[in-house]
């Protein structure tokens, strides 16, 4: 489906840019006039995905994070978050709640679970040594008259 609007964004994988990234995506989604809850869900999911790029994908260096957002005709938004980092060997395992390769962090292992609970769809593709792409999809409720 051809999007009716789209944007691209890229930035250095520094944690100071996490707030920037989710705010920029929020500013883009705002044109659909979502509810506060919808917007907050999207921001949280984007945050988790961006954090993963920074913390896991580029674990030992600072790399670039790429975001593409598309608005589709049926009030759906898709957000693609991509890194060119280390990649994930076993995606299914990585997505299991509580699975983590960084057990020292707080609330470890729940990033993908949070994304899945807040978005309608979460699709992950990855190639070891090449990087990881997460595509988040969410439908925004239509305003009642």
């Amino acid at each position: 489906m051809k999007p009716i609007n789209s944007m691209r964004l890229s930035f250095e994988g520094k944690s100071v840019n996490e707030a920037f990234a989710r705010t920029a995506v929020a500013a883009f989604v705002t044109q659909l006039d979502p509810t506060i809850e919808e917007l907050s869900d999207i921001r949280t999911a984007v945050s988790e995905a961006v954090t993963n790029c920074i913390v896991h994908g580029y674990r030992d260096r600072i790399g670039t994070v790429y975001i593409t957002a598309n608005i589709l005709t049926d009030n759906r938004i898709t957000i693609r978050i991509r890194d060119k980092g280390c990649g994930i060997a076993d995606i299914e395992k990585a997505m299991e709640p509580m699975f983590t390769t960084a057990p020292n962090e707080e609330r470890a292992g729940l990033g993908f679970a949070v994304m899945q609970s807040l978005m309608d769809k979460v699709r992950v593709t990855s190639k070891e040594g090449r990087g990881t792409t997460v595509v988040l999809t969410r439908r925004i409720s239509c305003k009642e008259a």
Binding site: A27, T30, D33, P34, I36, L39, S40
Partner: protein, 77 residues
Amino acid sequence: IGEIRRHLRDNNSVRVSRSLRDLAYKAMQAKERLINQNAKEPTVDEIAKEIGMKKEDVVLALEAIVEPMSLYEPVYS
């Protein structure tokens, strides 16, 4: 996760357009208050702290109000 959801539910189904307008209004009031208090322009961070919001929310809210600068705002729509 359930906890996050419950926490957010208070605001359930309020449209962003309205809520950002309210927030922007609060931010501008806080700005005036801080100018009177300290005799200097507060930063976005100081305003956010004053009203207990995240500064990224204040930045988003700024879009919702017609600023004093609107003299210069382009009128394309």
